[in-house]
């Protein structure tokens, strides 16, 4: 019955919501996943969480444009040496797909020669939208420092969600605390308020 209701809800409501939600359930999981064997199982079983996906670029959030806007308007930019993660996505609430990231960006430091950095992973919507207004991209951003050849998170997840949105605020509509995803709590040792900030894709009101 639950599956049937999910499918019916998806058929009825998905187009209007740009596939963000299937009735009351989000069409992508809140945490990214590692690549490699067993990734699909991790998505299906909601295990193996890595980073909160704490930003959504919607509406007019076509990924190439958003990627470019982030490079132009924040202190982040492209780099080599990506460490890809996956987005878990569903069309019906029960069967899952894994989707590779579109790009990574970093700033306020760097990967190999710096003390620290801000690091963002971007995923485009894993399905097409015929209308520009429905297009969306999501991102997970955090801050980390170099410790003995590894990178460790060193600030609350909230700080960098806010930081990036503030840097884009001058040219984009920013909806602070736009969506409640999960309860606030501590994840991997750092505070996450469970809300996702929404950033509109229009730049100074134009596409």
């Amino acid at each position: 019955l639950l599956v049937v209701s999910f499918v019916l809800a998806a058929l009825v409501s998905a187009p209007a919501l740009a596939h963000l939600k299937i009735d009351g359930t989000w069409s992508y999981r809140y945490y990214s996943r590692e690549t490699g064997s067993g990734a699909l199982s991790r998505c299906q079983n909601n295990t193996g969480k890595v980073d909160p996906i704490n930003l959504i670029f919607y509406q007019y959030g076509e990924y190439n444009r958003i990627d470019q806007h982030i490079r132009n308007e924040t202190h982040l930019g492209n780099f080599t040496g990506h460490s890809p993660q996956l987005l878990c996505q569903t069309d019906n609430g029960s069967s899952w797909g894994t989707h590779a990231e579109f790009n990574e960006q970093q700033g306020h430091g760097c990967l190999t020669h710096c003390l620290e950095r801000a690091h963002m992973r971007l995923w485009f919507a894993p399905h097409g939208h015929s209308s520009n207004v429905d297009k969306w991209t999501v991102a997970g951003v955090h801050h980390e420092e170099v410790q003995d050849f590894s990178h460790v998170i060193d600030e609350d997840w909230e700080i960098w969600e806010t930081h990036i949105a503030s840097e884009m605020y001058d040219h984009h509509n920013v909806y602070w605390y736009a969506y409640s995803r999960v309860s606030a709590g501590y994840y991997r040792g750092w505070y996450d308020d469970g809300y996702v900030t929404r950033i509109g894709g229009l730049h100074d009101g134009a596409y």
Partner: protein, 369 residues
């Protein structure tokens, strides 16, 4: 099976609100005047006669860059000025001072601080040098152009550190090297003994000292005002948070929890019990999501049902259906979190639960203290 009783959660704020709301003013005042225990955000180290400014590098590698650390080697206090923020550890407190967003303070034991006290690379080697036991501890020292150079290994990596400045502790204090003005503090998190009374204005709930084979290993109080910076965000009432969290862990967690920094993920089987006042805007936002209003999205309200808690208190039980469930062994949905809503508090229980398990656990919740 949960049932929908047709009542909107957001319409049920009751008499408890006024008490909580008046407490909020106290919390806000506390944030701008002092940390919860009344001390400065970070205390200046008292055990050291000198504080050292040290340049650290890892010869022969590009992966670990040169960095400058201020270290008080005996107390273990340190300060690192990074690209955008300053990090300070002293006297059981770790602070991030972000000039754009404010200062974030956390205090507690190793359980809550994890490896944060150890993130000054040179601390142990410098301590060995100051105490005159460098050779015994495997630290080689030499004088080059009047400066002390230390060579040592840490976690398998060879480092070279040069002391570039030595300050008397009084001078370090006068220069406020390890002190953060309280007016900068926008967020604090403090470890509490599980079951201890809340010092932030929330009526917290928990399961007692153990539940479902898990032990209450620690509690955290978290309070944050809107982060500084963007005026529109500062003005958004959802930026205020007051939380009391108790962490329950399986024995396999080995002293770690989701509150412990430096981990790749949360320990398997962890349950977090997160209580926050219903009067907060951010809590109302969660209840609106349960009622089918989440930003610009609209959907059918999530089912909810009445539940009697351990001490006879009546509450509403709601499963957060925003995150899609995982399939259980017999096909039953397994959810990430459920919410128990009382007159004063929304308590989110985070873990992995079927609907039946959520109800059984909810019936065991009781106020802390």
């Amino acid at each position: 099976m949960a049932r929908t009783d047709g009542r909107a959660l957001t319409a049920r704020l009751g008499a408890g609100t006024a008490l909580i709301a008046s407490g909020l003013a106290l919390a806000a005042a506390g944030l701008t005047s002092a940390s919860p225990d009344g001390r400065s955000a970070v205390a200046a180290p008292s055990a050291d006669a000198y504080v050292y400014r040290v340049s650290v590098e890892a010869p022969g590698t590009e992966a670990v860059p040169s960095r400058v650390e201020w270290v008080a080697p005996l107390s273990g206090a340190w300060r690192v000025d990074g690209d955008h923020a300053t990090k300070i550890y002293a006297d059981g407190r770790y602070v991030v001072v972000d000039p754009d967003q404010g200062a974030f303070v956390r205090s507690g034991s190793r359980w809550f601080l994890g490896d944060l006290p150890d993130r000054a690379v040179v601390r142990d080697a410098l301590r060995s040098h100051v105490l005159g036991r460098a050779a015994r501890d495997g630290v080689s020292t030499r004088l080059i152009a009047g400066r002390t150079e230390l060579s040592f290994s840490r976690r398998g990596i060879r480092y070279r550190a040069t002391v570039v400045e030595r300050l008397a502790a009084n001078t370090a204090r006068a220069r406020a090297l390890f002190t953060v003005p309280n007016e900068l503090v926008t967020s604090f998190s403090a470890e509490r003994r599980p079951g201890s009374r809340a010092s932030v204005p929330v009526v917290p709930y928990w399961f007692g000292s153990a539940v479902a084979g898990r032990t209450a290993v620690g509690s955290v109080e978290h309070s944050s005002k809107p982060i500084r910076g963007n005026p529109e965000r500062v003005a958004n009432p959802r930026g205020e948070a007051i939380l009391y969290i108790t962490f329950y862990e399986l024995p396999e967690a080995g002293g770690q929890s989701g509150a412990t920094p430096g981990q790749d993920t949360t320990p398997e089987g962890e349950i977090q019990v997160v209580s926050q006042p219903r009067s907060l805007a951010r809590t109302r936002g969660m209840l609106e999501a349960a009622d089918g209003v989440n930003g610009d999205l609209r959907y059918e309200p999530w089912p909810r049902s009445q539940v009697e808690l351990a001490k006879g208190e009546q509450a509403m039980l709601v499963i957060n259906r925003g995150e899609a469930p995982a399939p259980g062994p017999d096909g039953e949905p397994v959810w990430r979190e459920f919410w128990v809503v009382t007159e004063s508090t929304l308590t989110a229980v985070i873990g992995s639960f079927t609907e039946a398990e959520a109800r059984t656990l909810a019936e065991r919740l009781m106020p802390v203290g």
